[in-house]
Symmetry: C2
Subunit: 343 residues, 2 copies
Amino acid sequence: MAVTVADVARYAGVSTASVSRALSGADGVGETVRARVIAAAQALGYQPNDVARSLRTTRTQTVGLIIPDVVNPFFGELASAIEEAAHQYGYSVILCNANEQTERQDRYLELMLARRVEGLLLTPVLGESPALHAAARQGVPMVFVDRAVPSMEVAVVRADGRPAISKLVEHLVGLGHERIAVIAGPRQSPTGHERLTAFRTAMRAHSLRLPRELVRVGDFQMDSGRRAAAQLLDLDEPPTAVFAVDDLMTLGAVQEIRRRGLRIGTDVAVAGFDDPPWFQLMEPPLTTVSQPVSRMGTLAVETLVEAIGTGSARSHLLDCDLVIRDSCGEAAIPRGAGRSSGT
Amino acid sequence: MAVTVADVARYAGVSTASVSRALSGADGVGETVRARVIAAAQALGYQPNDVARSLRTTRTQTVGLIIPDVVNPFFGELASAIEEAAHQYGYSVILCNANEQTERQDRYLELMLARRVEGLLLTPVLGESPALHAAARQGVPMVFVDRAVPSMEVAVVRADGRPAISKLVEHLVGLGHERIAVIAGPRQSPTGHERLTAFRTAMRAHSLRLPRELVRVGDFQMDSGRRAAAQLLDLDEPPTAVFAVDDLMTLGAVQEIRRRGLRIGTDVAVAGFDDPPWFQLMEPPLTTVSQPVSRMGTLAVETLVEAIGTGSARSHLLDCDLVIRDSCGEAAIPRGAGRSSGT
DNA sequence: CTGAAAGCGCTTACAG
DNA sequence: CTGAAAGCGCTTACAG
């Protein structure tokens, strides 16, 4: 655990400079010397020390990844895609889970800066983050994934849910739904806001009312989806369809609906967001707005690599898909207004 | 991005030694000097360089985590728990996804050693891994999670599925099942082997036959679960119950059963392994053997920290729970042998 | 092609 | 309490 270039040099009878050159594969070193060095390294069991190299070269080959909630399958898949792509470009990734807390995000940001990551990939948590602004000011290459911070000029890679949401509403209306509720994200969340606004716009386009009581605010966690669904179901005139804007809240809603003995798709329609593998395995399979998660991850890395290389990078807005399955009912909706396309 | 201790020292009018002491909070530095240093650091926007510090102290405050498949929810949750616990102890984690490939595991192992991680947490992939043995020989503190390598004397933190599997078989038998199939893990997998053996033993204890055709080998991935279920269902005399030994294969089996229009719990019973959040949301909710995943993660980190500190650590074997829900049917099993406890 | 030497940014004995 | 100096393990101009 302690053999250094100096040891190898001594053993091979050459200078440390030659050792370095030979081992790094650089040219400008004779074949015989190279062979001797390699043999010596082998014999001594030499293990390069990247921290020394990093100090000297100021390259760490590491990028930082800060995710707000690794347990959320969406972010899990995202992290996985990012890890994969990063390695493709020769970067290791230091992973931190901000857990949706600004203080944790800031602490990790400091930590990553101190470790001299070459770039930063993050899904910023909501709220003011001094460390984030500091990092940006310092000029560390960085790109946001999935969430933008409007006040910051940082490239962002995310998916635009609007067209798909509009299609979803059309789908629901086609099935005879008029009283459609939404379980939205936190008010301050740009993503949540965008989805809610898109939903509102689509409802208006179909001349459908969206009373206050049908708009519920959650926090992207399962429990808030459950609570929101409960409130919705307790209404004097409950909605015939519920649209939740992320996977976890969708799950919560499904759970609450089930708990009450209601059947999804017939008693109440459910549409979700994101598309973890088991959505299609639910009974009935869930209709949902799907984001190109792993594409986002790959693209985010590519964008970051570009930022590291050129000092600047462009944002990318991907498309979402509406995946129609059976959870919005395909036939008899109780209050069907004759518009149903079902049998 | 380039202010160093030397700059701070100059600005504060003291030596770099004092700067280092003041900033690290060490004692042996006067209050006035400390205050001046802190002010100077602040004024200059000093950002400590951990790679230099690491080189000097030979401490990197980093541990490596190698997971065989981050997309698998079991490992996702495990990684999340590990990341959390590691930070609690002041360690950052470098995450690598071996994707069940020895070569990738070995490459990442080299990389982590070069980066001088202070410890290694990994779920070893199957197959010979020269780098793993090399690392062990070198004495890098390490602990295995979830999977042991019988030939290596490395502490392992995992859960013992045997008692829960025995209870599961009892549960199935109580429900009238006799023809019970198993979708096992790869033959070389100790974990898979343990679960299969436990299942065999339990079957024998109930004097139940387990013909070859009812034992199917998968690879812990969803697709293999699907294929295994298909083969099982195609049998002249298909099983009345299927037990899959991980979450992904369980999902695959569920999907195949559904695809054929069969109802889980009534047409065919399904029992799974692991307990991702949506198992309880399936229709019917899935009966499963649940591992204490996040406990495993935390304990693995504690064990590693101990290994780093003392140079040795003990293995830990946790218990699994049998979570009984409705997927094994609670009533009428077609071929019920009169043993059914249902109504 | 090869080597002597400096230096990356810290921390830590060692003196005083 | 404070500083001068060495050194962690590399790489890279700079000479030759």
